[in-house]
C-alpha cells in the first residue's frame, strides 16, 4: 500500500547515517570536556569545529538540504540568514569585547 503523498522523498539510510555521525560529533566535544586532557583553548576550538560539522550533518541528513536538490529561494534564504547571523554575533562580540578592553585595561 503506497498512497502516500510524499512517496520516495525520505530515505531511512540517510536518517540513520546522519544520526550516527551526529552521535559521533556529540561524543567528541563531551568527551574532551569530561577528560580535560587538553588546554581549555584547544578544547573550545574543537568544540566549535564539531558543532559546525554537526550543523552541516543535520542540514544535510535531517533537513535534506542539497545545493542541487533544494529550491534556490530556500538556499538564498538560508544564506541570507547565515550572513545576518555572522554579522550580528561576530559584530556584537567584536564591539563589546573591544569596548571592554578599552574600558578596563
Amino acid at each position: 500500500m503506497n498512497n502516500a503523498p510524499t512517496a520516495g522523498r525520505y530515505s531511512l539510510k540517510r536518517y540513520l547515517g546522519g544520526y550516527v555521525l551526529a552521535l559521533l560529533l556529540t561524543a567528541i566535544p563531551f568527551g574532551l570536556a569530561a577528560t580535560a586532557a587538553l588546554p581549555r583553548h584547544s578544547v573550545l576550538i574543537a568544540v566549535g569545529a564539531a558543532a559546525l560539522a554537526q550543523v552541516l550533518v543535520h542540514l544535510r541528513c535531517f533537513l535534506h538540504l542539497g545545493l542541487r536538490t533544494t529550491a534556490p529561494e530556500r538556499l538564498l534564504a538560508i544564506a541570507f540568514a547565515a550572513v545576518l547571523i555572522l554579522i550580528m554575533i561576530g559584530g556584537s562580540l567584536w564591539i563589546m569585547f573591544n569596548l571592554h578592553y578599552r574600558m578596563w585595561v
Binding site: P5, Y10, V43, A51, V55, H58, A71
Partner: protein, 200 residues
C-alpha cells in the same frame, strides 16, 4: 486585464504546498536570527556574574549530555516517522510520532528540573546578567520545544482522524522542519553555553 475565471487565480495544489513550505522555511530563518541575537547577548553577558555563581558552578556535564541524547534521538525518530509517511504506513507513523513526543517531553522535563534546581540554589534569572541571558536563551529554546510537542499532538490527532491526506502530509513536513531546526539550535546551546561553562 485578464478575463480568466477565478479558478486560474488559484495555484495548482502542488504549488500551494510548495509555497507553504517556503513560507515556513522563511519563518524558521527569522527564528534562527532571534536565536542568534540571544546567543550574542549570552556571549556578551557570560562574564557578568555579579559575584554570583558562574557556569562552572552550575552546569552538569552528564545532565546536558542526557538532554542532548534525548533531543538528537527524537530527531531520528521524527525521521523514521517521515519514512513511515512516505510508505503510507499510518500505524508506524503514529508510533514514531508518539516516541518523538515522549523523547521531547523527557527533554523538557530535564530542562525544567535543571531550572528548578538553579532557582532553588538562588541562581535564578534575577541573580546576574549572566543568568538572565542564560535563562532567556535556554528558556526560549525550551518554549519552542514545548510548542513543537503541542504541534506533534495536534498532528497525531489529525493523522488518526483525517488519515494521510495531502494537507496532513504537508503539515507533517513543516512540523519536521521545525523539529529538526530545534535540534540544530540545541547544538549551538551545548557548544556555546554548557561546554564552555563547564570548562571554566
Amino acid at each position: 486585464m485578464s478575463i480568466a475565471g477565478k479558478d486560474t487565480a488559484v495555484l495548482p495544489e502542488a504549488d500551494v504546498y510548495e509555497q507553504r513550505a517556503l513560507g515556513f522555511w522563511l519563518y524558521l530563518m527569522s527564528d534562527a536570527i532571534i536565536f542568534a541575537l540571544l546567543f550574542a547577548t549570552y556571549l556578551v553577558m557570560v562574564g557578568n556574574t555579579a559575584g554570583g555563581p558562574g557556569g562552572g558552578d552550575l552546569f552538569s556535564l552528564s545532565h546536558t549530555f542526557g538532554e542532548t541524547l534525548l533531543l538528537l534521538t527524537s530527531s531520528l525518530t521524527f525521521g523514521l516517522a517521515s519514512v513511515a509517511l512516505d510508505s503510507g504506513n499510518r500505524r508506524q507513523l503514529l508510533g514514531w510520532l508518539a516516541v518523538t513526543f515522549a523523547l521531547g517531553l523527557g527533554f523538557v522535563a530535564m530542562e525544567l528540573r535543571e531550572f528548578h534546581g538553579l532557582i532553588a540554589l538562588g541562581a535564578g534569572p534575577e541573580r546576574s546578567g549572566f543568568l538572565s541571558a542564560f535563562f532567556t536563551l535556554v528558556g526560549t529554546h525550551g518554549l519552542h520545544v514545548s510548542a513543537g510537542l503541542v504541534f506533534i499532538l495536534v498532528m497525531m490527532a489529525q493523522v488518526a482522524v483525517k488519515g494521510l491526506s495531502r494537507p496532513v502530509a504537508s503539515r507533517l513536513e513543516r512540523l519536521g522542519l521545525f523539529w529538526h531546526f530545534l535540534d540544530i539550535v540545541w547544538i549551538g546551546i551545548f557548544s556555546a553555553v554548557y561546554l564552555p561553562g563547564i570548562l571554566q
